[in-house]
Structure formats: C-alpha cells, structure tokens
Symmetry: C2
Subunit: 205 residues, 2 copies
C-alpha cells in the first residue's frame, strides 16, 4: 500500500519509523472507530475511505462536525493521545476505510525529531479548528435551507461525485433536524433546479 504518497512531506526516516511501529486497520462502513469517553492510545491517519466525526448528545441526537478523507488525520486523537485523556467525539467509518494507527508513545519523539511531523500536526489542528469554526458559523448564523445546501456542497467537494447515496432521514440526523423538514427543503431545491431527487440518492446539478 503506497500510503506515503498521501503524506508527501514526511521525511524518509519518519516514514520508516511509522512503517515499523504503526498498525494498519480496516473498517467496514458503519464501524465505530472512536467513541465518546474512550481512551485513545493512537493517532489515526486516514489512508482510504471517509471517516465521519460527530458529536453525540446524551438525550439522543447526533451532529455531524466534519469528514476526514485520505491524507488527513484526527486532531482529537492527536491531542487525546498526547495527554492520554478521553475523546469527546465519535468517529465512524462512512464507507470501507483504511486507517493507520500510530502508537501514542511515538508522538513526543516524532514531534521533536521530525519537522515534517510537527508541521503536519499543526496543520491538522489548524484545519480542524477552522472546520469547527465554520460549523459554528453555520448553526449560529444560517437557516436550515442554507445549511442543507452547504452540507450537500461540502459532500460533493469531499467525494468529487455529483451523486450522493443517502436518505433524507440520515441528512436530518447529520444536521440535527427532522426528516420532514429536509424532505421539504430538498423538494424546494429540486424546484430551483439545484438537485434531482431519487430514492436513497440525490443528484447535484
């Protein structure tokens, strides 16, 4: 598996170190990779697939925060790993995914020795923080119709596909809304010629 190509800035020595110590794991669509309250023993680098990072509400709600794709890493797992504290979020494989688990014991050492790792970690924090900011923006300032459009657009960008296999109920869960509202808003978008609706599938135009 040519995982190095996903992290082209890592120096050869670092690549070697990771290769020696990390474990590659496969997840099926729907598998939970990390759950709220769990202790984290390694940092996750995504090689393939798509990981959904979301927040769970005790009284039964989910809320999508962002997706991780190949070449990205979970900022929360980095921080938790370093501090050996528990995670506050859930991570689920959206599709079949491959993840490289780098043991936490290496983290300190890698941060010191490898500039490229240090940069990568900082870059990861930065991106996730920004994504969280845009999530806050959306729920604080936007109505559901705009949030839905943003949601679909983001998905298209992430996957590069213009079809999206998902039910209205799942979208409602991600946006913490209700199925009926999403159905109605999608209908309106269809009337505006932004999407075409099918069963379990939305086509972006």
């Amino acid at each position: 598996m040519e995982w190095k190509k996903l992290f082209p800035n890592f120096e050869p020595e670092l690549v070697e170190l990771i290769e020696k110590n990390a474990v590659q794991r496969s997840f099926n669509a729907g598998d939970i990779i990390m759950r709220t309250g769990q202790y984290i023993k390694s940092t996750a680098l995504v090689l393939e697939g798509q990981i959904k990072i979301y927040r769970e509400n005790p009284d039964g709600g989910e809320f999508l925060m962002y997706y991780l794709g190949p070449g990205q890493a979970c900022a929360v797992s980095m921080i938790c790993a370093i501090q050996s504290t528990t995670s506050e979020i859930m991570a689920k494989a959206e599709v079949e995914s491959e993840v490289l688990m780098v043991p936490v014991q290496l983290m300190d050492d890698m941060m010191n020795k490898y500039k490229s790792w240090y940069q990568f970690v900082i870059q990861t924090y930065r991106s996730r923080f920004d994504e969280l900011l845009s999530v806050v923006d959306n729920i604080a300032f936007r109505n559901m119709d705009e949030r839905l459009e943003f949601y679909l657009k983001r998905h298209a960008e992430k996957t590069g596909k213009k079809t999206f296999e998902i039910s209205h109920q799942e979208i409602a869960d991600d946006l913490h809304s209700s199925r009926e509202v999403i159905s109605r808003l999608l209908k309106k978008m269809e009337q505006r010629n932004l999407v075409k609706l099918h069963r379990n599938m939305i086509e972006l135009v």
Copy 2:
C-alpha cells in the same frame, strides 16, 4: 509583574527567554486585540483581565465562543503565528487587560527546547477545542433558556463573582439572539429564583 506565577510549569530558562523577547501590552475595556483577516505576528498569553473570543458574521452579527483569563493563551494566535496565516476570529478585551505578546519567531525553537512550552501549547489546543465543542453542543442541542443559563453559569465560574454587570442587549449579542427574548427568559429565571435582576446587573442566586 509576577507573571511567572501564572505559568508555574515553565522552566526558568524558558521564563528568561520569554522575558527577554516578549512585549507586554495593555488594553482598555473594549479594545480589539485581534480581528478577522488579520495576520498574527505573536502569540498572546493573558496575564490579567478577560479576553472575549468571538466570531463575526459579515451580515452583522457576533457570536461569543469563549473567554480567556489570566494564565490562558489564545490557541488561534498560536496556530496562525506558526503558519503565518490570518486569524478567523475576533478578540476583544472585556475589561482592562494585560497581555504578553511572544514573537512568532521564537515559537518553533521553544516547542523544540522546552517540554513545558510544548505541553502548554498542547494543553491550550485541547482546552480551546473542547470549549468549541461545548459551544457546538449548546447551539445544536439546547434551547435559548438552557443556553442562557449555561452562559451565566460559565461567567460566574470564570470570574468567581455572583454579580454580572451587563445589559440584556449585550447578552443577546453574545448568544446571537434578541434583547426581548433574553429579557423574557431572564424574568422567568427570576421567577424560578435563580437570579435577581437589576439595571445593568444580574445577581446569581
């Protein structure tokens, strides 16, 4: 100024380095310390006062994310400084505040040399990330009444005071709501004996 006491874990060498290179700045209540789109040239350590970190919406809205108090640092300024990118948030002094500005050029060096600084940076990322998560939780899962209670409780915790000098309008701005709504909810809280309302002042019971 005995700023070291606020950062008891910093090694003496690190303290000395900071002392030699950092600049202490004073801000009056209401001063903007950092604005959206601005390039960041130093990392801010709060020595005294209270800094409000908030998000600004192009079409005229603010949204409070969290406060920084003495001994805390701005995670955004750290990340931006390292990457020499622009900030995506606003920082404003809520009261007279003292801030230590550590030039960005030192950051890399300090991260490598001083374990205590490294730990501090990680700890800062972690805390701010968690705070952002709880912000997301609140707006995603809670109604305004709960958000208001959380807002008041958090303020009490941060300041240690049980009185809060603020107008209903300002609270509404922080929560991105409207003055009337906040007034009504506060009245209800008063009826439940959770607060006593005065002009420009709320007393927590």
